[in-house]
């Protein structure tokens, strides 16, 4: 335990460090670690070795080539068990259910969504946690994938698209039940073709329900999805030209005769184009007609507004084929230079820096547009960014809470696979709501958005407690990860410093002083002490500029 004398000693030592020391350390961050930390959920020893052996281009191409269906991570997910626990209850109408407390496999992750439709049937009595279960399974799997998936870049981009096409899976039981297929769809397309992804997102039941398009019928149409499609999914707020709100024919055109930006009238027209795009969950469509029970997209012709439309200055003829209106809107948007700029800016902001070089973004956007029909369009754009000399700049982005937690586990090398989603609650204290972020913007992505005392203190808590038993994410004891040849406390500090930053620069003398010990003291033999010392070393190694920034 720390006494006053020891505390003073550590304070004196801290004061002796020159103010510039931290900056010098940050500037000296290992460039290969920075590269890996941008493209994975945190560099590991294995990543460092692979990168050293292959070189950046080959390492990147290997990552880009890894498919969504990876047998290694599938095997890990197969071993997971998520607890479901509720008391006996009844629905007040004669239906009742018994108490349940059991560990269940993640069966919904790969289930045909049609087989999950009984969870939406309110005639069948069950506790609400059964109905919300599919989304809970995705949330548990998210952390496991981030830590253990070999296809790290695909996972990084899947999380990116989850925020770009944000859905709050806790909105209601409908969004929750269809959320595993939403997640799988984004992972499939994460490095693929944007137009294909956009089409599948527009047809994703979770999205249709979250942004209310599933209820949009003529007339008036529901504008929620249409507005966010333009503002968040494609053109972006920079292309909202509402100063022309009543002069659509004065909005400047691009080189192909399409309006360069959108106004409210475009939102109204796009909303009309998507009327009737709903969900196959047996819902009422019209007298005697229900949607099918596919658990997938369903087109309700009776709800569609079939008449002529004008989108970004382009005239649509009336009474076209089913879904032609919506699909043409998606074609226009996916091919639009504004979409290319907006999406490429966000990709560069995610993987590289808050304010990416405009020239680099422009080159990405040109490629994005040229390759808009290529099956590997997104991979090509990511490759251009990552292999550009402009990618080699010092780290400036704070690891957001989910990334910080995943990076801690990747650095320590423990096996993650909890039986509860307590980690979700822990991260929520810092503003990270994995798969349950309410507004459609998704989590913000600049340092300024996360720069607060609360976030910093919650990251400190994660560094301190993530490996404790009660935290619930891992049962691996850190003592088991201490190499057998490790002799002194200073060795331990340097070992964790390497794991976290790729550099053995920190023997952590102030930590040992605070514990009333000396750096050259031998490591204790008992397991409990060794685990605790390793946990403290890890926290110290993680609370450095090299680990907090990427």
């Amino acid at each position: 335990m720390l006494n006053r004398r020891e505390f003073l000693a550590s304070a004196v030592m801290a004061a002796m460090l020159r103010p510039g020391a931290a900056m010098a350390q940050a500037a000296a961050a290992n460039p290969d670690d920075v590269f890996l930390n941008r493209l994975t959920f945190g560099a590991t020893a294995a990543d460092r070795a692979a990168l050293a052996q292959m070189g950046r281009a080959a390492w990147l191409d290997d990552q880009l080539a890894r498919p969504a269906g990876d047998p290694q991570i599938a095997a890990v997910l197969d071993t997971l068990r998520l607890r479901i626990e509720y008391e006996a209850g009844d629905d007040g109408e004669g239906g009742a259910w018994p108490a349940v407390n059991e560990l269940r496999p993640l069966a919904a992750l790969s289930a045909d969504p049609a087989t999950l439709l009984p969870l939406l049937d309110w005639e069948t009595p069950m506790d609400y946690s059964e109905r919300a279960r599919p989304a809970e399974e995705v949330i548990l799997a998210a952390l496991t994938r981030a830590v253990h998936a070999p296809a790290q870049l695909r996972e990084v981009m899947t999380q990116f698209w989850h925020d770009h096409f944000n859905v709050d899976s806790s909105r209601d039981e409908f969004v929750a039940v269809f959320f595993p297929s939403h997640d799988a769809m984004l992972r499939d397309h994460a490095l693929g073709n944007f137009r294909q992804m956009l089409g599948d997102v527009a047809r994703s039941p979770s999205m249709l329900i979250y942004l209310n398009n599933a209820e949009s019928a003529a007339s008036p149409a529901n504008e929620n999805y249409a507005r966010e499609l333009l503002e968040l999914h494609t053109l972006g707020a920079p292309h909202y030209f509402n100063e022309f709100y009543d002069r659509w024919n004065e909005v400047p055109l691009d080189d192909e005769g399409v309006a360069q930006g959108y106004i409210d009238e475009d939102v109204y027209e796009v909303a009309r184009a998507f009327t009737g795009w709903t969900v196959g969950d047996g819902r009422w469509i019209s007298e005697g007609v229900l949607s099918d029970m596919s658990g997938r997209f369903y087109y309700a012709e009776a709800w569609h507004d079939p008449y002529q439309k004008r989108v970004l200055g382009i005239a649509f003829q009336p009474n076209r084929a089913p879904m032609a209106d919506g699909d043409q809107v998606l074609d226009i948007l996916a091919h639009h230079p504004g979409t290319a700029r907006f999406v490429c800016t966000k990709i560069a902001r995610r993987l590289l820096a808050d304010e990416p070089d405009p020239d680099l973004i422009e080159r990405m956007a040109v490629l994005f547009r040229d390759q808009w029909q290529a099956p590997d369009q997104i991979a090509q754009v990511v490759r251009l960014l990552v292999l550009d000399p402009g990618f080699d700049v010092p780290p400036g982005k704070l690891r957001r809470p989910f990334e910080f937690l995943a990076a801690l586990y990747r650095a320590s090398g423990v096996q993650v696979g909890g039986i509860s989603n307590d980690y979700h609650w822990q991260l929520a204290q810092s503003g990270w709501l994995q798969h349950t972020f309410p507004p459609p913007t998704g989590h913000p992505d600049t340092l300024e958005d996360w720069l607060s005392g609360t976030v910093i203190l919650r990251l400190v808590d994660l560094a301190l407690y993530a490996h404790d038993d009660w935290f619930g994410c891992t049962t691996t004891r850190l003592s088991s990860l201490i190499p057998p040849d490790m002799r002194t406390l200073a060795d331990l500090g340097r070992d964790w410093s390497v794991r976290c930053s790729g550099q053995p620069q920190d023997a952590m003398p102030d930590l040992w002083t605070a514990m009333e010990a000396l750096p050259d003291d031998p490591l204790p033999k008992d397991e409990g002490s060794r685990h605790d010392l390793a946990a403290m070393s890890l926290a110290y190694a993680a609370l450095t500029p090299q680990f907090l920034f990427r």
């Binding site: 720390l2 030592m13 931290a22 942004l211 949009s216 529901n222 707020a237 605070a514 926290a539």
Partner: protein, 378 residues
């Protein structure tokens, strides 16, 4: 006289002003919406009568706003209808940003951030954004951000906390991006631990409010934290509180009453908890926009224009419905669709800053604004 305090509650998502304070007798209103999306004059739950009418359309508060009605009748609450951004936008994020920045062009922080930088209040906790992220309105200032005060104590109870603090100070105290935030959080952490840490209990002391707060809405917990910061003399001058969920594109009849009731009950609990400190406090309630006059075909309303602002505080001459009612006939609507904005929200905030916060230079907060009086004070 104690320093005045301002609390700004932002209803995120676009609260339907036509359901908060409704022109119940307006034939255009009755024609544009089904009964379930209107406030009625008859039936089981008629709207709550507002005695001081703004126009001859029988304005009423929504029946779920009973406490707001009480505060209005007590003369503590002012209601300002048809307020908002004069430049039209129906994008949540653009409207929120513009309102919170309060100045065209950006890069000048938020309006409360400019107030902080102008006044430079001292004390350990001059400004608090209740939540996990900085609000746009406080941007540019070194406001604290936290859902509750106990969360601002560094590794409370951990035996290594002093060493960790030294570690963070050494590692980040001079960091170009994190340094200022780190210094602020470490200083505030120490103040809070000195005040609230109970060594015998191994925990931070809980706040004991003088009233019971509702337990069914996050807003109540946020306002409880604000009341604590005020009553325990931490030097609070500005607090921002977010209350989300108002984007009622569907199922408005189901969701809206609960949201408004949450606001109404939480605000009343907060106000009663303040007790004599009410004298020092003004609360502003606003949203980024109102909603479309005509409802959609899925039981909701889409993004509209003018909202309604509430100002709670004894300095204002409350119990009045202020602003200019533009009417709802087709020609009076903005773009033929939405309640028109007739009062710039900055005119309301300007009067709160001068009338309550005793600011003499509102032009520094809203540069370029030619103030049109709304008559909130005096």
């Amino acid at each position: 006289m104690a320093d005045p305090i301002l609390v700004v509650i932002f209803l995120r998502g676009g609260a339907d002003s036509l359901s908060v304070v409704s022109p119940t007798g307006d034939p255009s209103y009755i024609a544009a919406r089904p009964e379930s999306l209107r406030v009625s004059r008859q039936g089981d739950t008629p709207g709550l009568i507002l005695p001081a009418a703004l126009a001859d359309v029988d304005f009423r508060l929504h029946p779920a706003a009973g406490e707001l009605s009480e505060l209005f009748n007590a003369g503590d609450l002012s209601i300002l209808h048809a307020t908002g951004l004069t430049l039209a936008t129906r994008s949540h994020f653009e409207a929120e940003t513009k309102i919170e920045q309060g100045v065209p062009g950006g890069n000048q922080g938020g309006w409360l951030g400019r107030w902080m930088n102008h006044v430079q209040p001292g004390g350990p906790l001059p400004a608090l954004a209740v939540g996990t992220s900085m609000t746009e309105s406080l941007r540019g200032s070194r406001a604290a951000v936290a859902p509750d005060l106990s969360g601002l104590a560094l590794a409370a109870g951990h035996w290594l906390a002093p060493a960790l603090e030294a570690r963070l100070r050494a590692g980040f105290g001079a960091h170009d991006r994190l340094g200022a935030t780190m210094q602020d959080v470490l200083a505030l952490s120490q103040v809070l631990k000195d005040r609230y840490w109970q060594p015998d209990q191994g925990s931070m002391r809980d706040y004991a409010p003088d009233v019971e707060y509702p337990d069914d809405t996050d807003l109540a917990a946020s306002l409880r934290t604000v009341a604590q910061s005020i009553k325990e003399d931490l030097g609070l001058r500005i607090a921002t509180v977010d209350y989300g969920g108002w984007d009622t594109h569907v199922n408005q009849a189901g969701d809206f009453p609960g949201l408004l009731s949450g606001l109404s009950r939480s605000l009343m609990a907060f106000w009663r908890d303040l007790g004599p400190r009410q004298q020092d406090v003004a609360v502003v309630v606003q949203s980024e926009f109102g909603r479309r006059l005509r409802s959609n075909d899925s039981g909701g309303t889409d993004h509209g224009r003018a909202g309604v602002m509430l100002v709670l505080g004894p300095q204002a001459r409350g119990g009045r419905l202020l602003g200019r009612w533009p009417g709802l006939e087709n020609a009076a609507l903005e773009e033929g669709a939405d309640l028109a904005v007739t009062t710039d929200y900055r005119d309301v905030l300007t009067e709160v800053l001068t009338g309550h916060m005793r600011l003499d230079r509102p032009d520094l907060i809203f540069p370029g604004l030619t103030h049109v009086p709304v008559g909130l004070y005096g």
